[in-house]
C-alpha cells in the first residue's frame, strides 16, 4: 500500500521556494482528504445501513408470521394448569358377599370462583345466595370484589345446583370434579362401613379417606388406583343385615332399650353375616364425633358390637361348664351342691330364685344357677379359667377388620383371684364385647375350634386352635338346647330351627362403683340349628324394660330372647336353612281310636 502523505509537501516546497502562499494548497489538500474520508465512511455506512434494513425487514416479518400463526390457531378453552401430582380419586367399591353394592363413588362438583374473571361480581354473589341460602351475601360480595384470586364457595353441589349456577353465566364461577363416597343403602351396615371424608383437596379432585369401619381399616387397599374395579367383598349379606336391623330396631323399641346390638356369625368360617349396632347413623352424612367429656358410647357412631365392652352375665356360665367337662371334672349328670348363699370372705353369691339344694350340671345351665357355676369354677381354678378364656379370645381386642376394633379392649381384674374366677364364671368381673361372645360361642358350636371373627368373605372354613374336646362341645350344645326347651330361654324356641342358647342378665355397673338395681344388659347368645350348629347369633339389649305384665321385667328371657327368636325366624330362611321337621313328642300322642 502506498502511503499518501498528510501534507502535499511535493507541491508546497516548490511553491514556498517560488515565494507563493502555500495556504491555498494546504486547504485544497485538507478538503480532498475530508472528501475522501467522507466517501470511505459513506461506503462503510452503506453496508451497515443495509444490514440494519435487512434486520428490520426480517424482524417485522417474524412478528407478522407469528401473528398469523396465532391468529390461525383455533382458540382453546383456557385451562388452569394443574400443578403437582394428580389426586387419585378412584376409590374401590365395597360390596356384600353376593356383590351387591355397599359403598361406591359418585361424581359431583365443587364450586369456586376466580374473582378477577367475574364479569359482574355483585350480581353473581346475589344469584349465588338465591341458590345457596346458607351463604353470606355480604361476605361473598366482599370476597368477589376484593383482592382475592380464588374463593371456595361449596365443596359439593348437586347436578341441579350446578345447572343453576351455570345459568348465572358468569365465567368467573367454576366447577371442579369432586368424587364423593356414596352409601346407596343409607343407614344399612353403617357401623361396618364407617364412612369417608375428603382428604387432600385441589381444584379438580379431592382425595377420599376412610374415617371408620372397613373404610378406615382397608383405606390402603381402597385408595390404591391399582384396585379400581376390584371391589372389596365383605362377608355381610345385605338381605340378612336389613332383616336383622329391622327386627332389632323393633325389638329395641318394644323393650324400651336405649341401645341394642346383634351379631350373626358363621361358626365354621368366622364370617360375620350381619352386625348391627343401634342407634345408628347415615354414613353419607356422618355426624360429628362426640366432644370430649361426653360419654362416647351414647353417640350413634359408637359400635356396640365391637367397641362396647359389657359384663355379659350368665352367658358366660357355659364356658365354665364346658371347660370342666373338657377337663373331665364333671359330666352333664354330675350333681353339684347349690346351697346358698355361697360365702367367700365378705362376699356372698346367691341365685335369682331358690332352686333347691343340689342340681345336675345340665340343670345348673338350664336354670342359670350362679352358685352352681361358681362351685364348678372353684374346681377349675383361676389359672386354668384364665387360660381357657384367653384361648377363646376374651383377653384381647377382637381381630375384626374395622378401624375401631382396638378400642374394644376387654376389662378384666388385674389380680385374677379365686373370687374373680367365681364371679367371672357367671359373667361378672370381666367385660367383653358382644363380638367376643359370638366368637366364643362359635367355638362351642363348631365342635371346639376357635374361629376369629372376620368381615371379609372367606373361601372355606377356618380351623383355628382346638380349645375344647369335641365331646365337651357337643355336651355344651345339648345343654344350651336344654336352656331353650326347658330353661330360662323358653321364648327362644323357633319351630323348625332348633335354637340353642344361653341368656344373660347383668346389672350395669355404676360409674362411681357398685351396680344399678334397675339397669341391666340383657344378652341372648344362641346358635342354630342345635343338631348341627351353623350360625351363632348374639343379641344384646341395653337397659331393656318389658312392661306388658304387672311388673317391669328386665331379664334376658323376657327381653333379648324374644327379639332373637323373631330375628332367627326372619333370617334363617334368608340364610338358606330349611326348617327341621321334628317328630311330635310321644307323650302328646293320643290314641283317639279307643
Amino acid at each position: 500500500m502506498i502511503r499518501t502523505p498528510l501534507r502535499p509537501l511535493a507541491r508546497i516546497l516548490p511553491a514556498r521556494e517560488r515565494g507563493e502562499n502555500t495556504e491555498e494548497i494546504e486547504r485544497e489538500n485538507l478538503r480532498r482528504r475530508h472528501a475522501e474520508m467522507q466517501d470511505r465512511a459513506r461506503s462503510r455506512a452503506e453496508g451497515r445501513l443495509l444490514v440494519l434494513g435487512a434486520f428490520f425487514t426480517v424482524a417485522f416479518a417474524v412478528v407478522g408470521v407469528r401473528m398469523g400463526m396465532l391468529a390461525t390457531t383455533v382458540p382453546v378453552e383456557p385451562m388452569a394448569s394443574a400443578g403437582g401430582s394428580v389426586i387419585a380419586a378412584q376409590r374401590a367399591d365395597i360390596t356384600d358377599r353376593d356383590g351387591r353394592i355397599l359403598a361406591t363413588n359418585f361424581e359431583t362438583n365443587s364450586l369456586y370462583a376466580q374473582p378477577p374473571m367475574l364479569v359482574d361480581p355483585v350480581e353473581s354473589a346475589k344469584s349465588l345466595v338465591k341458590i345457596f341460602p346458607d351463604l353470606n351475601e355480604e361476605r361473598l360480595i366482599r370476597d368477589f370484589t376484593g383482592k382475592r384470586k380464588f374463593v371456595w364457595i361449596k365443596k359439593r353441589i348437586s347436578p341441579e345446583q350446578k345447572q343453576a349456577v351455570h345459568d348465572i353465566g358468569d365465567p368467573g364461577l367454576l366447577f371442579g370434579g369432586r368424587e364423593m363416597r356414596l352409601y346407596p343403602n343409607g343407614k344399612l351396615a353403617a357401623h361396618v362401613l364407617g364412612g369417608a371424608r375428603f382428604g387432600e383437596e385441589d381444584v379438580n379432585a379431592a382425595q377420599l379417606i376412610g374415617v371408620a369401619g372397613v373404610e378406615k381399616q382397608f383405606d390402603g387397599y381402597l385408595a390404591d388406583p391399582a384396585n379400581a374395579g376390584k371391589p372389596l367383598t365383605l362377608a355381610l349379606d345385605l338381605s340378612v343385615q336389613a332383616a336383622a336391623e329391622r327386627v332389632l330396631y323393633g325389638g329395641m323399641r318394644l323393650m324400651n332399650a336405649k341401645g341394642a346390638t346383634s351379631i350373626l356369625m358363621d361358626v365354621h368360617t368366622g364370617e360375620i353375616i350381619s352386625m348391627v349396632s343401634l342407634p345408628d347413623f347415615d354414613p353419607n352424612d356422618r355426624p360429628a364425633p362426640p366432644t370430649s367429656g361426653f360419654d362416647p358410647s351414647v353417640s350413634p357412631l359408637f359400635n356396640r358390637a365391637v367397641q362396647g365392652v359389657y359384663e355379659l352375665g350368665s352367658t358366660f356360665k357355659i364356658f365354665a361348664v364346658a371347660q370342666a367337662m373338657d377337663l373331665g371334672l364333671v359330666s352333664p349328670e354330675t350333681v353339684i351342691d347349690i346351697r346358698g348363699p355361697l360365702r367367700w370372705g365378705k362376699f356372698r353369691i346367691s341365685d335369682f330364685h331358690y332352686y333347691g339344694k343340689e342340681m345336675t350340671v345340665t340343670r345348673i345351665i338350664e336354670k342359670s344357677s350362679n352358685i352352681g357355676t361358681a362351685r364348678i369354677a372353684q374346681m377349675i381354678g383361676a389359672e386354668r379359667q384364665r387360660d381357657f378364656l384367653g384361648a377363646l379370645g376374651f383377653l384381647e381386642p377382637t381381630p375384626v377388620e374395622v378401624g375401631e376394633a382396638n378400642s374394644g379392649k376387654p376389662l378384666m381384674p388385674k389380680n385374677w383371684s379365686e373370687l374373680s374366677a367365681m364371679t367371672i364364671s357367671y359373667g361378672h368381673g370381666l367385660s367383653a364385647s358382644p363380638l367376643h361372645l359370638a366368637a366364643a360361642y362359635a367355638a362351642i358350636a363348631n365342635g371346639g375350634h376357635y374361629v376369629s371373627p372376620t368381615l371379609l368373605k372367606q373361601s372355606g372354613p377356618q380351623y383355628g386352635p382346638r380349645v375344647m374336646s369335641a365331646k365337651a362341645a357337643a355336651n355344651s350344645q345339648m345343654m344350651l338346647r336344654g336352656v331353650v326347651t326347658d330353661g330360662s330361654a323358653s321364648m327362644g324356641e323357633v319351630p323348625g330351627y332348633q335354637v340353642a342358647g344361653k341368656t344373660g342378665t347383668a346389672d350395669k355397673p355404676k360409674p362411681q362403683g357398685g351396680y344399678y338395681e334397675d339397669k341391666v344388659i340383657a344378652t341372648f347368645a344362641s346358635m342354630f340349628p342345635a343338631s348341627d350348629p351353623k350360625y351363632v347369633l348374639v343379641v344384646t339389649l341395653d337397659e331393656p324394660v318389658e312392661t306388658s305384665g304387672t311388673e317391669a321385667r328386665r331379664t334376658a328371657g323376657w327381653t333379648a330372647v324374644p327379639v332373637a327368636a323373631e330375628m332367627i325366624g326372619r333370617i334363617a330362611p334368608l340364610l338358606g336353612l330349611r326348617p327341621v321337621i321334628e317328630p311330635a313328642r310321644l307323650a302328646e300322642v293320643r290314641l283317639t281310636s279307643n
Partner: protein, 385 residues
C-alpha cells in the same frame, strides 16, 4: 440594484421544495398509522373512559386533538433544513434533559410505581419522550463531529451522555425508554463505523446489564419470569392478549365486538395491537406491521445515499428507535419478547408520546429529504451510481 435584474428569491420556495424532496411514501404511512390509531382508539378507549367516568369517546377526542398537534409538528419539522433541525433539537434536548433531571423532585407517578410524568392538570408531560429524539440528534452531531479532521472526541462525549440518560431513566424506573436510548446510540455508533470487536463487547455488556437488572429489580424480574414460563396464564395481560389474537382470526370478530379491551388495563396503550387483532383480525395487524416496516426500511435505504455524516447518523437513530419500539410492542403481544411496557408509536393513546413521535418523525422526514449528494463528483471519479 441593477436595472432589469430579477430580485433574488433566495432559492426555491419552501413548500414546493418540501413537496418535491420529502419522502412522501413514509409520510403517508405515518398519516395512515395515525388514522389507524384513532380507529383503534374508538374501539379500545371506551372501557377506560367508563372506568374514569368520562364520556365514551373522551379519549378519542383527546387523541384527535393531540394527533392534530403532532401532525402539525411533524409537517413543520420536516420542512426545516437539517441545520435548523439540529439547532432546535439541541435546545429541545437541553430542556428535556433538565426536565428529566428534575423529575424526582417535581414529577408524579400517577400511582403506577414509576415517576415519569409532570402533571400539567389538563394533560401530563413525559420528558423522556421528548428527550429521545433530541438525544438522537445531539449524539449524531457529536459522532459526526468526531469524524471531522481535528474534530472533538465526540464518541466519548456522546457515550457519556447516553450513559447518564440511561441511568436517569433506569432510576425512575423506565427500562423501556432506557433500552431504547441505549439501542439508538448503539445503532448510530454502529453506522458511524464501530470496530467489530467493540460491537461484540457491547453485546456482552447488554447481556450483563440485563442480568443485573433481572437480579436487582423485582419489577423487571417478574416480567422476564412470566415470559419464560411455557404456559400462558390466562389471567395475565399476555394471556388475554394471546386469547384476543386467537379469537380475532383472519378477519376479526367485528367492530366493537371485542372483549379483550374490557379485561386488559393497558388495552389502549401497550396492548392496542391485541385490540386490533381481535376486532379487525390479522388483516389490519399485517397492515400495521407493513406500515412500520416501510417507514423504517425506506428511511434506512434513503439514508444510504446520504453523504453528510450527521444527517445519516441522526436519521438512522430516529428511524431505528421508531421501528424497534413498534417491533417490541408487537413482539410482546405475540410472546416473541418478554413483557415490556412500550407504546406503539402514533397508534397507542398518549399525548406526550404522540407529539414527541410527531416531532421525531418530522425530523426523520427532514433528514431523509432528497438532496444533492455529489453525484457528479461520483461520476467524475468513475463511480457509476
Amino acid at each position: 440594484m441593477v436595472y432589469g435584474a430579477v430580485p433574488d428569491r433566495g432559492g426555491e420556495p419552501i413548500l414546493p421544495k418540501w413537496w418535491r424532496t420529502v419522502d412522501k411514501w413514509s409520510m403517508v404511512c405515518v398519516l395512515l398509522l395515525f388514522a389507524i390509531g384513532l380507529l383503534l382508539g374508538l374501539a379500545s378507549s371506551p372501557p377506560l373512559a367508563a372506568r374514569n367516568d368520562f364520556a365514551p369517546f373522551h379519549y378519542v377526542q383527546r387523541q384527535a386533538a393531540f394527533g392534530g398537534m403532532a401532525i402539525v409538528a411533524m409537517l413543520l419539522t420536516s420542512m426545516m433544513s437539517p441545520i435548523m433541525v439540529r439547532r432546535l433539537a439541541i435546545l429541545g434536548f437541553l430542556g428535556a434533559f433538565v426536565a428529566l433531571a428534575m423529575l424526582p423532585f417535581l414529577g408524579t407517578d400517577f400511582g403506577k410505581g414509576a415517576v415519569r410524568w409532570y402533571s400539567l392538570g389538563f394533560a401530563s408531560f413525559q420528558p423522556s419522550e421528548f428527550l429521545k429524539p433530541g438525544f438522537m440528534v445531539v449524539a449524531a452531531w457529536l459522532l459526526a463531529a468526531s469524524q471531522e479532521i481535528n474534530g472533538p472526541p465526540g464518541k466519548t462525549w456522546s457515550f457519556a451522555l447516553c450513559v447518564a440518560i440511561v441511568l436517569m431513566l433506569a432510576f425512575q424506573p423506565d427500562f423501556g425508554q432506557a433500552s431504547l436510548v441505549l439501542f439508538g446510540w448503539g445503532v448510530m455508533y454502529f453506522v458511524a463505523g464501530a470496530p467489530m470487536l467493540l460491537l461484540v463487547l457491547m453485546a456482552g455488556l447488554v447481556v450483563l446489564g440485563g442480568t443485573f437488572a433481572y437480579s436487582t429489580s423485582e419489577h423487571f424480574a417478574r416480567r422476564i419470569d412470566g415470559f419464560l414460563t411455557p404456559d400462558v396464564d390466562p389471567t395475565t395481560q399476555l394471556g388475554y392478549a394471546t386469547d384476543a389474537i386467537m379469537g380475532g382470526g383472519l378477519f376479526g370478530v367485528g367492530v366493537g365486538e371485542g372483549q379483550v379491551k374490557w379485561s386488559l388495563p393497558d388495552a389502549h396503550t401497550d396492548f392496542i395491537v391485541a385490540v386490533a387483532a381481535e376486532e379487525y383480525g390479522l388483516v389490519l395487524v399485517l397492515v400495521i406491521i407493513a406500515l412500520y416496516a416501510s417507514v423504517t426500511v425506506r428511511s434506512l435505504l434513503r439514508l444510504m445515499r446520504e453523504r453528510d455524516p450527521f444527517i445519516r447518523l441522526a436519521g438512522t437513530g430516529l428511524a431505528c428507535t421508531f421501528g424497534v419500539q413498534a417491533m417490541i410492542n408487537m413482539g410482546v403481544a405475540v410472546r416473541l419478547l418478554p413483557a415490556k411496557g412500550m407504546t406503539l408509536p402514533f397508534v397507542s393513546y398518549g399525548g406526550s408520546s404522540l407529539i414527541a413521535g410527531g416531532i421525531a418523525v418530522g425530523m426523520l422526514l427532514a433528514f431523509t429529504r432528497s438532496r444533492p449528494q455529489g453525484e457528479i463528483a461520483d461520476l467524475l471519479r468513475g463511480r457509476n451510481r
